[in-house]
Amino acid sequence: MLFIIEDTINGILMGSIYGLAALGLTLIFGVLKVINFAHGSMLMVGMYVAYWAALLTGLHPYLTLVIVVPAMFLFGYLLQDVLIKPIFKAEKDVREPITVIIVTTGLWYILDNLSLLIFGPQYRTIPDNPLRGKMLEFGDMMISVPKLWGFCAAIVTALMVYAFLQKTRMGRAVRATSLDRDAASLQGINQYKIYNVAFGIGTAVAGVAGVALVPFYNIFPSVGVLFDIKCFIIVVLGGLGSIGGALLGGMIVGVIESVGPQFMTATWTEAIVYGLFLVFLFLKPSGLFGVKYDW
């Protein structure tokens, strides 16, 4: 019985990091109403930035946040400004331009293969990493320390994003734009700037997830693909646009992945996650906490 509790706890911890990654995606969706297919690649970029920052400056892996977050924010802000804004301007009357999906898919292929080209296919880990393989022991239970920190990062980030949306002037503008972009424009909100900011924050959150993963996860060019589809599934489970939903959806997926292998071959759990995703898509496409209007 104990191992199931242990797996559940580790699943929740790992799942909260999935949720953290998905949080960026759901934030972007909430405002732009488009799914960023390159989100996993953003995570990958975040991991490489953290890796190189730690390697070159000798910072503690978690302290690379001071570099990763601003860099990723800027990256996302510019990407949206250069690549996605023109589409929104061209397809003004379309609420969910499908062209954006296609463009971000192109971006996914570019980023993944560019990093393959530059960094090579090898798996990288941070050398003399203080957190690698560190475990907390509770009696017979082992809890991974970096995953615990990832869990904390997920909670703190979610709270910060929530506070930003609820308490700041810019956050209010973001919420207004996500509710009704035309009405928001009429109130003098520059909707394109809001899109840039939302995309920047979403990308920065993916960067935070990258930093949380770096101490215990391998870094390689296609690492984003593993998270990409997982993030789609999580945001639909939790409800597109919902912050709490993203975290909860992540934890559900994490628990299935970590408890499942006790009962079946590990690879089958993947099929179960897809199955659960499809069930949700058909029966409750607005997810656990999604707004009905948004799907």
Binding site: I98, T99, I101, T105, G106, F232, A271
Partner: protein
């Protein structure tokens, strides 16, 4: 000379050139590249029936390639049934799966539909990777199936040289192009386009949009499965990653989108432009610059979406028409 005949002349010349090409191109490598080009043109044209005309974005067509490949291979390996018959059985099965996927997913809006098709395709791939025996059928999980090249010949769909494969895929491609041409001029074609562009308006006019989309999906998955059988017989080895991977689904969609979805020339043009990029960059830069062709794909895709959202076929068709007009006009003036 009749202007409409002049207009068609270049197309006739291209078709004739395709017929005699294997006599000129004798290198197996180049023939292989040409066969893959036709195969992807075929796949994309089949995809286009639902992804182009119906205006949705299916990103899981590799499933149908896999169903076609696995059905014919299992039937021929375990029961000695000719792959030609297996091809038909696979297509029917694939069509059924296509309709079953389409029934719930066509109700979804843009992005959700794309996500659902990805989830179906990946879910089915994961299952095939985990199944060694599906009832009496041996699938061999991730190890896949090898087709022993025992007897070659038309009946066993197996040849020692590449030329027969070339002609088979050429005929398949010609057939699917003729079919999409017919669809684009049929009631179904108009229903699909109307339903894709303005579903509410189309429904108000009494068009059963959902039914039209399902028919399109059934046809598209039926035809896509043919390519799966062809692929299995051409390479004689299939495994879930080779015939069901997400990369295949995405490449099909990329080719269609860059060439121009919803048009007949688009998929052909896309395959003609992108396949050589992919093959040659793999041959010449594969070891030094891995993934180069995918970067090029991505960049071209983004540029096309930003500047020619209807695909490259649009400006090229315009240029072609203008050139033809000039030629016809010139001749008529002379006459």
């Amino acid at each position: 000379m009749n202007p409409s005949l002049v207009r068609k002349l270049p197309l006739v010349i291209a078709a004739a050139a395709a017929l005699v090409l294997p006599f000129v191109v004798t290198s197996p490598t180049y023939l292989h590249i040409l066969i893959l080009l036709y195969l992807y043109a075929y796949l994309t044209t089949s995809w286009n029936i639902v992804g182009g005309f119906a205006g949705v974005l299916p990103l899981g067509h590799a499933t149908f390639v896999g169903i076609g490949a696995y059905t014919s291979t299992v039937l021929s390996l375990q029961y000695g049934i000719s792959p030609w018959i297996g091809m038909l059985v696979g297509a029917l099965l694939s069509s059924l799966v296509g309709v079953l996927i389409g029934l719930p997913t066509f109700k979804m809006r843009g992005a959700y539909f794309a996500l659902a098709t990805i989830a179906f395709a990946e879910g089915i791939r994961v299952m095939v990777e985990n199944i060694d025996y599906l009832g009496p059928f041996q699938l061999n999980g991730p190890r896949g199936l090898q087709i022993p090249p025992l007897k070659t010949g038309l009946a066993s769909f197996m040849f020692a040289t590449k030329e027969p494969y070339y002609y088979i895929i050429l005929v398949m491609l010609a057939g699917v192009i003729a079919l999409t041409y017919a669809i684009s001029r049929s009631k179904l074609g108009y229903y699909l386009v109307a339903g894709g562009e303005e579903p509410e308006a189309a429904q108000a006019l009494g068009i059963n949009v959902a039914r039209a989309k399902l028919i399109a999906m059934a046809m598209s998955s039926f035809l896509t499965a043919f390519a799966g059988t062809f692929w299995a017989q051409f390479t004689l080895y299939i495994h879930p990653k080779s015939v069901m991977s997400l990369d295949i689904s995405f490449e099909i969609a990329f080719i269609a989108l860059i060439g121009g979805r919803g048009s007949i020339a688009g998929p052909l043009l896309g395959a003609l432009l992108l396949r050589p990029v992919s093959d040659f960059s793999r041959i010449y830069f594969g070891d030094k610059l891995p993934g180069l062709h995918l970067i090029i794909f991505g960049v071209v895709l983004i540029l096309v979406m930003l500047y020619q959202p209807r695909g490259l076929q649009e400006p090229l068709t315009r240029i072609y028409n203008r050139a033809m007009d000039r030629m016809c006009g010139g001749r008529e003036a002379a006459a």
